[in-house]
Symmetry: C2
Subunit: 137 residues, 2 copies
Amino acid sequence: MPENTDSDTFLASDAFAADLLRGHTDTIVLAVVSQGESYGFEIFKTIRDATGGAYEIKEATLYASYRRLLKDGLVEAYWGDETQGGRRKYYRITDAGRAVYRDNVGAWEITRGLIDTLLDLGRPARTGTTRPGRPQQ
Amino acid sequence: MPENTDSDTFLASDAFAADLLRGHTDTIVLAVVSQGESYGFEIFKTIRDATGGAYEIKEATLYASYRRLLKDGLVEAYWGDETQGGRRKYYRITDAGRAVYRDNVGAWEITRGLIDTLLDLGRPARTGTTRPGRPQQ
DNA sequence: TCGAGTACTTTATCTGTTACAGTACTCAAC
DNA sequence: GTTGAGTACTGTAACAGATAAAGTACTCGA
C-alpha cells in the first residue's frame, strides 16, 4: 500500500481523480460484476486493488450506484446465505446490464478521444508537419 | 456541419459526451486561451471545430466556467473596443491559469489511465500478450 | 421588417458525489 | 469481557457542475 504522506506522485489519486471519475462509477461497477457475481464490499476492494490502491471509491458513492443499477435493471441482487457472520448482498449483471456496459465503454472511448483532442489545443505549436502526436506514455 | 438525424456515428457525441466531460470544462477553456486571447463565443466555436462538430458545449456551461476561472484568477477579462456591432469580452490566461492548466492535464492523464484500467476489468480475458489496441479513428 | 447569426448573462433544476451518521456482526488482543 | 479494528450494508443532507430556458442586444442579408 502506498504511503500517502511523502510521495508527490500519489498526490494525484484521491485529490482529483474522484471528481473526474464522476459519471463513470456505474460503468466501473458493471465492469466488475460482468466478470462474475460479487458483493458490495468485495466490489469496493476489487476497484481499490485494480488501481493499486490509487483510487478508493467512497462507500456512499458505490451504494448509490448499486441503487441506480438495480432501479434500471442492469444488475440483480440477492442476499448470500451466510448463516453466521455479516450478511452479504450479491450483485449479478443482467443482459441489459451487459448491453449498457458495452455502450458505455464505447462512450468512454469517444470521450477520451475528445478530451485528448481538446487538451491538445493547449500544447505549444509543434514544428513537424503531421497531426499532433500523443506523447508516448 | 453534420446532420444530426441519420448518422449513427453522430449519436455518440452530444448524447453522453456531455455528461462524461463534466469536470473538464475549465481545463478545456484553459487549453483554448493558453493558445492566445479569445472571446466567449469564439472559444465556443474553437471547441466545436476542434472536435469536427462532434461536441458542442452548451453556452450556459461555458459562461459558468468563465465565471469560475475569473473568480479563481486563472483568466483575466476585458471588453474589446468594437465601436459598432456586438460587444465582445476577451479572456486572457494568467500565470496561475497556466500552472493550473498543466496540473489539470496531468490529472487527466492519470484519470484516463485509471478508467482504462478499471473498464478493462470487464473485458473477456485476452489470449495475446499485448495491450488492447485502440480502434483507429 | 423579418429571420438568422453573433454575443453575453442569469435563474432554476437536475444529477452524481460525498461527508456524516448509523446499524450490526466477527475476531484478536489486552 | 470489553475494546478496537475490520467487515458489511444503508440513509440523509448538502454541494457542485451542467444545462434548459429565457432574456437582452446588435448586425446583415433577403
